[in-house]
């Protein structure tokens, strides 16, 4: 078996039985990463020496009770801070930024024995998946290099370079990227994975999530990362995720919005395949209920309004004064304008301009406040629906991964049509999972949503669907020859 395709438990077991040497695994991954980087541009920072040092440290450890992620290679999106590697958010403004502190999530992974293989490429400040805003050029899709991967984290997991990856989800980014790359992704309940050290662009929507190829790996990652914290009351009792995967309740009810097929840009192939998937689920005895969610269709628009206002404010610290890229000016005002004009991509500037505009007195009531009201309505609708049903199901994306040099350029629309199905979970703060399926030789995903703190049932449904292992992209097979 390819050592890079071992599960979390297999890696630990094989290391314990001395059937696998970490140095061996490290050498394989380092070689493949180098090759993959050339082909897909999936890393922003990949330092083989740093990786080797971590492996040495693990190898030399005399720890008896090894934590659950011992020797597990993981990738971290480059908007999650690390102390030994820069954190750029794929922005020119932070292209050389070295944070003086480490995200709590990263510390948790390292304390649990994981190996950080590298910092992955993403859209600037993790906004969107179109492959049009990274200062370090777009990530190519391992299924088709002419298409966007959505994020380096998704590409790294799909290619078998990391057992799982951490990335952030503002309006559905990790689920969309997972849909484009054919992997599993979970955006947990808001605040479940500590937010400390995430460079967030839209604080009230954004949440760190996990991408993986196996449900059990995802469950182990969640087990380690979901610690009580600021937004995570210790009173909430959590199940042992890896142990409950097979226990899906006999009568699991799945709601599907009756108008699910009304999404703009919904591709014919996905529409047909999704219908087949619904039939399949019904055949295994799951109850499918068609429901009316009148305001679900506005989720992407509302998340864009709120996200733009929050991002405008959150990213105001990037002014060239204390850190990061600076372009000098004759006076402070000019320095700000020059720095931010040259520092941000045109896509991000468009988004921030919208946020700046909507937070002025003129538009505050008519747009921002209206958006907040709509957010409450959408949340209420979802909550009502999830009282009657365990899960809500839609496609994750209305299309397969979009072409990188499509004309006219795709993915710059506001609101982003790719977030049509995903944004609602961010507005409500509910957990949501992408499970990959495929059509036309390209992956897309089924998106499940559950109510707050109900990650368990999302993992259970994914486990049920996982009877057949997830398909590898051709590129991953190509990599295995490296």
């Amino acid at each position: 078996m390819d050592p890079a395709n071992l599960s979390v438990q297999q890696i630990t077991a094989k290391i314990n039985k001395k059937e696998l040497l970490l140095t061996e695994l490290g050498a394989i991954l380092a070689g493949r990463s180098k090759y993959a980087q050339k082909k897909l541009n999936l890393f922003i920072s990949f330092d083989p020496q740093l990786f080797t040092e971590q492996i040495k440290k693990n190898e030399q450890s005399t720890q008896v009770n090894r934590p659950p992620l011992w020797g597990v290679p993981v990738a971290i999106a480059d908007n999650i801070t690390t102390v030994d590697q820069k954190t750029t958010c794929a922005s020119r403004l932070l292209a050389a930024y070295q944070p003086p502190f480490e995200a709590q999530a990263v510390s948790l992974l390292q304390e649990n024995g994981a190996l950080l293989i590298g910092k992955t490429n993403l859209e600037e400040f993790g906004l969107g998946c179109a492959g049009n805003s990274s200062y370090f050029k777009p990530v190519k899709n391992p299924w088709d290099i002419k298409r966007t991967a959505g994020s380096g984290a998704a590409a790294a997991v799909a290619s078998g370079l990391a057992t799982f990856a951490l990335a952030s989800d503002v309006r559905g980014e990790i689920r969309q990227a997972a849909s484009y790359c054919g992997v599993i992704a979970l955006k947990p309940t808001y605040g479940k994975i500590p937010r400390e050290g995430l460079i967030d662009s839209a604080s009230s929507l954004e949440q760190t999530g996990i991408l993986a190829r196996r449900v059990s790996d995802l469950a182990w990652a969640l087990q380690v990362l979901a610690v009580p914290g600021n937004n995570n009351p210790p009173a909430v009792k959590r199940p042992l995720y890896p142990e409950i995967l097979g226990n899906i309740p006999a009568k699991t009810r799945i709601a599907v919005p009756a108008d699910w097929d009304q999404a703009p840009l919904l591709e014919e192939g996905i529409k047909n395949n999704f219908r087949e998937q619904l039939n399949k689920l019904a055949r295994v005895g799951l109850e499918i209920n068609y429901v009316t969610l009148p305001h679900f269709q506005y989720a992407s628009l509302v998340a864009t309004i709120i996200g733009a206002v929050e991002a405008f404010s959150n990213l105001s610290n990037l002014d060239g004064v204390r850190f990061g890229y600076r372009k000098e000016g004759k006076h402070l005002q000019e320095m700000y304008i020059k720095t931010r004009s040259a520092g941000f991509s045109s896509k991000l500037k468009k988004f921030l301009t919208l946020g700046g505009l909507l937070s002025t007195k003129k538009y505050y009531n008519s747009h921002f406040l209206q958006g907040q009201k709509m957010r409450s309505i959408i949340k209420k609708e979802l909550l009502d629906c999830l009282q009657e049903n365990e899960l809500l199901l839609t496609p994750t994306t209305p299309c397969n991964a979009i072409l990188l040099d499509s004309s006219p350029p795709a993915g710059e629309e506001l609101p982003d049509p790719a977030a049509y199905y995903t944004a609602a979970a961010n507005l409500a703060g509910f957990p949501s999972l992408n499970f990959p399926v495929s059509t036309n030789g390209l992956p897309y995903g089924l998106q499940f949503m559950a109510k707050k703190e109900d990650e368990g049932v999302l993992l259970q449904i994914a486990f049920l669907l996982e009877k057949e292992p997830i398909k590898w992209p051709i590129f991953a097979l190509e990599l295995q020859e490296v």
Partner: protein
């Protein structure tokens, strides 16, 4: 010529006496080396966006709102005021724009022997910005430097209604406000260190008019005197403009203490700050129990104390005003009263002797070595005739310097009053014999001569003779 009336409102910023900043655990100590009391949160570093609200600062702000008779918000929320400036690490200031901590309060101020309630528009909690340094003028300075030690230090801003009419009213209000804040102990209110900062909005309107005129905002007044002078100057300046038929430009003006004038800083554009609720800080409910705790932590405030001092202790208004002007002084007075319940006599001593020495030594009452009960003991010794009032002053000076008990000083220095008639009579005899001229003067009706003779006896006894007794004995002797 039209007569004008000034309409003045104040915006007062007060730094809170918390150990740590508003959203992180950095120290708030004043005077540390630049940029040594900072962390990723208060420096606004990417990934540092995880504020943790300082509950003590919230309690202090609520305490302020309650002491200023405000309605207190039921839910504490924070908003971001978005603007770019080099001293603002995040590019936004966290403040309470939509729902301030307190609203619709008032503070009574004594103006020309009448009490006037000055409306408090709102009290809110917010974070301070960093401090900029320039060489000379900001425009000609070769550099701009920023110290972020002050960034995110908790501030309470108190905004008055435009209820003030003169510079004197503004000064009196500010003093009363400072006194009240010192009473409740939320700030040290040092204008020279910037822990109390006051801006004034000033406009003029024809006397009797209800409409408000064009206002200017006056900044950089770093003392009570500067507040008075700045407002006075600005009223005069605006009066001049209006009387010549001109119009006042809405602008921010700087008070220049040295030249004694206000200078234009920048024209006030219709400022559009982008305010919106902070998406990270969750609303905090103010439960009744917590509010009650805060309410009970508020000590008796100056007005109520003043009333008690005049009504219960029978002190004249002047005495009550002086003694309640500081919580520590009033506490001192009332503690001394425990051992010496002669209200007016004690008040006299504190206001003349004690405060005289404090002022001469530039000291605060809190640093005084004389414990209140010991002052009471000293005054009792006078009343009992153990020492004379004059000797008492010497003893008190000794107590003030050394902190020794009065009895000990009197004993060690042998300062006990001589009240023994026989002893005194002998001295009286000597003095009378030695000054026949004065005796004759006395007999010729010159009463002053008696005073001279008393003085001579006191001199002979080094001030230890009981003056009342000496007086009596001398009169008796001379009438023979």
């Amino acid at each position: 010529m039209t007569a004008f009336e000034a309409v003045i409102g104040l915006e007062v910023h007060v730094e809170l006496l918390t150990q740590t900043k508003l959203f992180c655990s950095c120290s708030t100590d004043f005077g540390a080396a630049p940029n040594t009391q900072v962390c990723p949160i208060c420096l606004g570093l990417p990934g540092g966006n995880t504020p943790r609200l300082n509950k003590k600062a919230v309690a202090y702000a609520i305490k302020t709102a309650l002491a200023l008779n405000c309605q207190v918000a039921q839910e504490i929320t924070f908003d971001r005021k978005n603007y770019f400036y080099a001293d603002l690490p995040n590019g936004y200031q966290i403040t309470q724009h939509f729902h301030p901590m307190g609203k619709k309060g008032f503070l009574p101020v004594n103006v020309a022997e009448k009490t006037k309630n000055i409306g408090i528009h709102q009290v809110h909690l917010e974070e301070d910005a960093g401090k900029m340094f320039h060489v000379g003028d900001i425009l000609s300075s070769p550099f701009s430097r920023v110290d972020f030690n002050r960034a995110s230090v908790p501030l309470v801003e108190i905004v008055t209604e435009p209820d003030l009419r003169t510079a004197e009213e503004a000064r009196l209000f500010l003093q009363k406000l400072r006194n009240t804040l010192l009473y409740i102990g939320i700030s040290d209110c040092k204008m020279e260190e910037g822990s109390l900062r006051c801006d004034a909005n000033i406009s003029l309107r024809p006397l009797g008019s209800k409409e408000l005129g064009v206002k200017t905002e006056l900044k950089n007044m770093n003392s009570f005197r500067a507040v008075y002078r700045g407002i006075e100057y600005e009223i005069e300046r605006q009066t001049g403009i209006l009387q010549e038929g001109g119009t006042v430009i809405p602008e921010t003006r700087h008070w220049d203490e040295e030249i004694g004038a206000t200078k234009s800083m920048r024209e006030k554009l219709s400022e559009s700050y982008r305010y919106f609720p902070d998406p990270v800080l969750l609303p905090l409910k103010t439960d009744t129990k917590w509010l009650e705790e805060i309410l009970y932590s508020i000590p008796e405030l100056p007005d109520s104390r003043y009333k008690r001092f005049t009504e219960d202790y029978g002190l004249p208004p002047y005495d009550a005003e002086v003694l309640t002007s500081s919580r520590d002084l009033a506490d001192y007075y009332e503690q001394a009263l425990q051992t010496y319940p002669e209200h007016k006599n004690l008040s006299n001593w504190i206001m003349s002797e004690l405060m005289g020495l404090l002022n001469a030594n530039n000291m605060e009452i809190t640093a005084c070595k004389v414990e209140p009960p010991e002052l009471g003991d000293l005054l009792k010794l006078i009343d009992q005739g153990t020492i004379s009032g004059k000797i008492a002053k010497t003893v008190f000076e000794e107590m003030f310097t050394t902190g020794e008990k009065p009895e000990k000083i009197i004993r060690e220095k042998g300062l006990t009053q001589i009240s023994d008639e026989e002893t005194l009579l002998k001295i009286v005899d000597t003095v009378v014999t030695a000054h026949p001229g004065s005796v004759e003067d006395y007999h010729n009706g010159k009463n002053k001569a008696l005073g001279f003779l008393v003085g001579q006896v006191m001199k002979e006894t080094k001030g230890q003779a009981n003056p009342r007794l000496v007086n009596k004995l001398l009169q008796k002797k001379l009438s023979n």
